[in-house]
Amino acid sequence: MADTIVDSKKQGGLLGKEDMKLLKDPLHSNNPLTIQVLGICSALAVTGSVSKSLVMAVALIFVCAASSLIISLLRNSIPSSIRMIVQLLVIAGLVQIVEIVLGAFAYTAYVELSVFIGLIITNCIVMGRLEAFAMGNNPKQAFLDGIGNGLGYGWILVAMAVVRELFGKGTFMGWTILPTGPDGWYVANNLMVLPASSLFVIGIFIWIQRAVDPELVDKS
């Protein structure tokens, strides 16, 4: 019996087993940041504060999911010679939408993130998923894959930010946890505030992840 390939329709309900795999894999076993090692650049820049990372994560989930959906819908009609240009156009257009919407409805977040919203266009995860998945799969699965990868990126981003903000400034989302300043006992670790610290924080995350799940270690 062809049990291994489960047709999502036979499962009933909205999301079949295969579909759930698309959502769950990028959270751990195929995480875009720690396993595929894509999109590290923005992880350096915004993880200094939790609130910035949350906004960035939401923005990326939207761009990744929407672009995957759109490109999947268009995949059979895009002339092959301009394939990547069309992908870029879709990504850039969506990022513009995010910028305009943030500027109008979440102005403080817009000011905080400033250039980094525009840099989502250059985030390898988005283009990577379009090429690797959306171009060859149906819209529903591409959409779920986009959300899954966005979530995988988002949770690592926020986790890094919690570490960097706590040890770099002694706060969490602006609230003081470790008191710094003249009356506090905690001497803020200034290295954690600088982007370079994200490199080894993410290295430590990759280490922990592979220690917890040895299956993920490269066998080569």
């Binding site: 257009g93 939408i97 200034n190």
Partner: protein, 252 residues
């Protein structure tokens, strides 16, 4: 299996770019007014945040509006000429060098004024009168940080010399270092009570090593160039207001 029929590349490009352009321009025209309103609001909050009046509440747009109603804004030139809201047309006539024209006086922005020639350049003065009659004057200064522009609003007491409040912002300074001029409350607090002018010169300096004195403020570790930029910003920016301040003092 037949060959996949591809649409003509140029037709496709035309189609997809038209659709994208249409969607983006529709969104932009409908949301841009809200965005501009947000920017204007943020500017008002920045100015009001300098004013040392504990009755000012900046929680919601309503209270910001009420507080800002007590602010009287004028524009001055280095030669001491004063322009008010009523002189908007004259102000726009002076917009040389490709500087943008203003829809109202509140839009006056130093970044735009930089494009004008010095004789035509305007500097804002925001006069706030508290309920107990005490006046605060907020002025705007602009200069260069390490990577790009920095700017600030300085609130002065009625002697037009003692700083009573301060707000700094920057385009692209390093987070944790140069950006601390905006984020560090400890840094900004130092300015309160310090005096800007010594006789006729701007004397306020941000120093590397702490030094006692009414003109000295200690800088931020690792942000020397940004702090030097702040000193230079004060020297250049505050000197523009000297003629106007002398006029005000003589009137009293």
């Amino acid at each position: 299996m037949g060959e996949k029929k591809e649409m003509n590349v140029y037709a496709y490009v035309f189609m997809i770019t038209s659709v994208t352009a249409l969607v983006l321009s529709l969104l932009y025209t409908s949301l841009n007014p809200i965005f501009e309103a947000n920017r204007a609001e943020a500017k008002k909050v920045a100015i009001l945040s300098c004013i040392p009046d504990s009755t000012i509440v900046l929680e919601d747009p309503e209270s910001v509006k009420t507080a800002y109603d007590s602010v009287k804004m004028i524009a001055i030139t280095t030669s001491g000429q004063i322009y008010t809201k009523k002189d908007l047309d004259k102000i726009n006539e002076m917009a040389t060098g490709g500087a943008k024209k203003y829809g109202e006086l509140a839009e006056l922005d130093l970044a735009n004024e930089e494009k004008r020639t010095e004789e035509n350049r305007l500097y804002p003065v925001y006069e706030y009168k508290a309920s107990n009659g005490k006046k605060t004057y907020v002025v705007a200064i602009r200069g260069n940080g390490l990577w790009d522009k920095i700017w600030g609003y300085i609130a002065l007491e009625e002697d037009l010399n003692t700083i009573s409040g301060i707000y700094f912002d920057h385009k692209n300074e390093t987070p944790g270092l140069g950006a601390e001029i905006k984020d560090s409350d400890a840094f900004k607090k130092q300015f309160i009570g310090k005096k800007v002018f010594e006789k006729d010169n701007v004397a306020l300096t941000v120093l590397k090593r702490p030094k006692k004195g009414e003109h000295y403020v200690t800088g931020i570790s690792g942000a020397t160039i940004t702090c030097d930029g702040v000193t230079a910003m004060f020297a250049k920016g505050m000197s523009k207001y000297e003629t106007y301040f002398d006029q005000l003092k003589n009137k009293k």
